[in-house]
């Protein structure tokens, strides 16, 4: 009886309140960002799909709307008669390799700096340097280090190893992997650190009381806290690696050596060196397919509405 009495007024007063709130929703504030994203991202995405079906080169680009329609011919050429598959393989191999190598480095760094010690702040700052330096600066430094007579080869020469060229030929791939590892491991470190900070302090006490050795404590107690953030970090790292244009571009220039012709570089060269715009767009669309799976995994891993349980 009392419940009904209390419930009845709310039932009658709620609709006008909602209506008032609805009228006041400042949805116009979404407009500036929305228009920009529409014009500079969504429309170009559709234009890219359209261009990939056209025979577009430097002669037809002025009147690109009227360029001859080719259908899927660009895709056929990209798959059968271009370096696309080679580039896809390179990109995936390189991205997976870098992700797999940086993951233990990042976790180890997070584990080693979790506990307070003198100078920890300094060490943490140093760890973030590669992450903070712009990729074009990182590329310029390493390009100089890896010169034929540069610091790397001189040092290796002292111990009797003469690796030869790093910036050209088959070793260029390993140069790219090495530099990207150097530049990208702090991302994993940051997210692993965030995971460690969520560990309940009592857990440490409990593990110490149980007399667990460090490895089983790590494996059975700490690892579950890390799985989520590190998994997320690996997806993001893979996406960054696959989409990375700046580092190979600055390290090797264009046209890139065949061994480091990763997908972004190939797409760029096909557009702005060979002026085969239609073919290049087809390749770019293929790269979208490549990142689609990790993007979907990423969307599932990130909770869209954290802390908003009334959805």
């Amino acid at each position: 009886m009392t419940i009904a009495k209390v419930a009845a007024p709310t039932a009658t007063t709620k609709p006008p309140a909602i209506r008032r709130q609805r009228r006041q929703r400042p949805l116009w504030m979404l407009a500036p960002g929305g228009v920009l994203i529409l014009v500079v991202i969504v429309v170009p995405l559709l234009v890219a799909l359209w261009i990939s079906l056209l025979d577009l080169d430097q002669y037809t680009i002025r009147e690109w709307v009227h360029a001859p329609f080719l259908g899927v011919k660009n895709y056929v050429e990209a798959v059968t008669d271009s370096d696309l598959l080679h580039s896809v393989w390179l990109s995936v191999f390189y991205a997976v390799l870098v992700t797999v190598v940086t993951t233990p480095i990042g976790i180890a760094a997070a584990l080693a700096t979790q506990q307070a010690f003198r100078g920890r702040g300094l060490v943490r700052s140093v760890f973030l340097i590669p992450y903070v330096l712009p990729a074009f600066v990182v590329g310029t430094i390493w390009r100089t280090i890896l010169l034929p007579d540069g610091f790397a080869n001189q040092t290796l020469g002292h111990v009797g190893i003469h690796p030869g060229l790093w910036l050209n030929g088959p070793k260029s791939f390993w140069a790219l992997v090495l530099v990207q590892i150097w530049a990208s491991w702090p991302l994993i470190y940051l997210l692993a650190l965030a995971g460690l900070q969520s560990v309940d302090p009592d857990v440490h006490e409990a593990a110490a009381l149980d007399g667990a050795d460090w490895w089983s404590k790590l494996w059975h107690i700490i690892a579950p806290y890390l799985r989520g953030p590190v998994g997320l970090a690996m997806i993001i790292a893979f996406l960054h690696n696959v989409n990375n244009f700046t580092l190979p571009f600055v390290l090797f220039g264009v046209p890139a050596p065949h061994d480091v012709e990763v997908l972004p570089v190939l797409t760029y060269v096909e557009s702005f060196q060979n002026f085969r715009f239609g073919l290049s767009a087809a390749m770019a669309v293929c790269s979208l397919v490549l990142v689609a799976i990790p993007i979907i995994a990423y969307l599932r891993a990130v909770r869209l509405d954290t802390g908003d349980k009334h959805e």
Binding site: R25, P26, M29, G33, I37, V39, I41, P44, L45, V47, A48, I61, A108, L111, A112, T113, Q114, Q115, A116, V123, V126, F127, I129, V132, P134, A135, V137, T140, I141, T144, I145, D149, G150, F151, Q154, T155, W182, L187, E205, I222, I236, L239, V242, N243, F245, F249, V250, P264, T267, Y268, F272, A281, A284, V285, V291, Y298, L299, L304, D305, T306
Partner: protein, 285 residues
């Protein structure tokens, strides 16, 4: 003793990891600093510690490379992008967090997905669209700083908005509801209540946008001309000129690289605390 309880790695292993990683990171960074004051020949010969010091690299670089103009362009474009992005992201995020409407979740999902679209996919159509728009409106777009500004602002928005969404969720709803009861307009609530309370998040969003503009090479290499070139493109062009040149000026190149890194490092040092927590909250670089 209490400290030992929190230990995750045995001490020798911990020390080994720290020493190795500090050397791995510090080596190339120290190399850059030393090479920037080394003679060009010394760098070309692979010296780590300079035999002859050439601090004059830092004077000469301004005349050998187009660095001054590049830095000015970068500062202008990235700076304006950062401010505009901060404003746009906080208002977008505010609406997304505080109001329920159709398509809200789709927008949130879109914000995350858009960050991962390869830039190389958008470069060509963006170029073509700007060229067509310029033709229709009879203005120049490509080659101007406006082209870079619009492009960077848009690419920075999804992540910046996401950072602000995660930040604004943590703010108590009661504050702006109280202001609304007092009759304040949405714009007033945003500028007088939300922005002052959320500035640590805003700093992260702005700095992210600044870094995006500062670090980009892909779009800047196509959308600029020699007058509007950013520092990133100026350094890249200068670096590739050293190949096949008679006397490569590697010492000056390293000095130029260091100069290009300084604004970024200063920003990072100044806002380190916010940046680390903000970036991990957003989950992305």
């Amino acid at each position: 003793m209490n400290k030992e309880v929190n230990r995750l790695l045995p001490r020798p292993l911990q020390v080994a990891v720290l020493v190795l990683l500090v050397a791995f990171v510090g080596g190339p960074v120290l190399y850059m600093v030393l090479a920037s004051i080394n003679s060009d020949l010394g760098v070309a010969a692979g010296e780590f510690f300079p035999r002859t010091f050439e601090p004059a690299n830092y004077v000469r670089i301004w005349s050998t490379a187009d660095l001054g103009k590049g830095l000015a362009n970068s500062l202008l474009v990235a700076g304006v992008t950062a401010l505009a992005c901060g404003l746009a992201s906080v208002s977008t995020a505010y609406v997304l967090v505080r109001y329920k409407f159709l398509g809200r979740l789709t927008i949130l999902r879109g914000l995350l997905a858009l960050q991962s679209i390869p830039g190389t996919l958008l470069l060509l159509p963006v170029f073509v669209l700007y060229a067509s728009l310029a033709n229709i409106l009879e203005i120049t777009i490509i080659g101007t700083r406006w082209a870079l500004f619009i492009t960077y602002l848009t690419f920075a928005l999804p992540f910046a908005t996401w950072v602000m969404v995660t930040y604004l969720r943590g703010l108590p709803r009661e504050l702006d509801e109280a202001a609304r009861v007092d009759g304040a307009s949405s714009w007033r609530i945003l500028t007088r209540i939300v922005v002052p309370l959320s500035w640590p998040g805003l700093v992260v969003a702005c700095i992210f946008a600044f870094l995006l503009g500062w670090n980009d090479v892909l779009f800047a290499s196509v959308l600029t001309n020699p007058d509007t070139r950013t520092a990133a493109v100026a350094l890249q062009v200068f670096g590739s000129q050293q190949e096949g040149g008679a006397i490569p000026v590697y010492g000056q190149l390293m000095a130029a690289a260091l100069i290009c890194a300084i604004p970024v490092v200063v920003l990072y040092l100044a806002f380190q605390r916010f940046l680390v927590s903000g970036l991990t909250a957003g989950g992305v670089k």
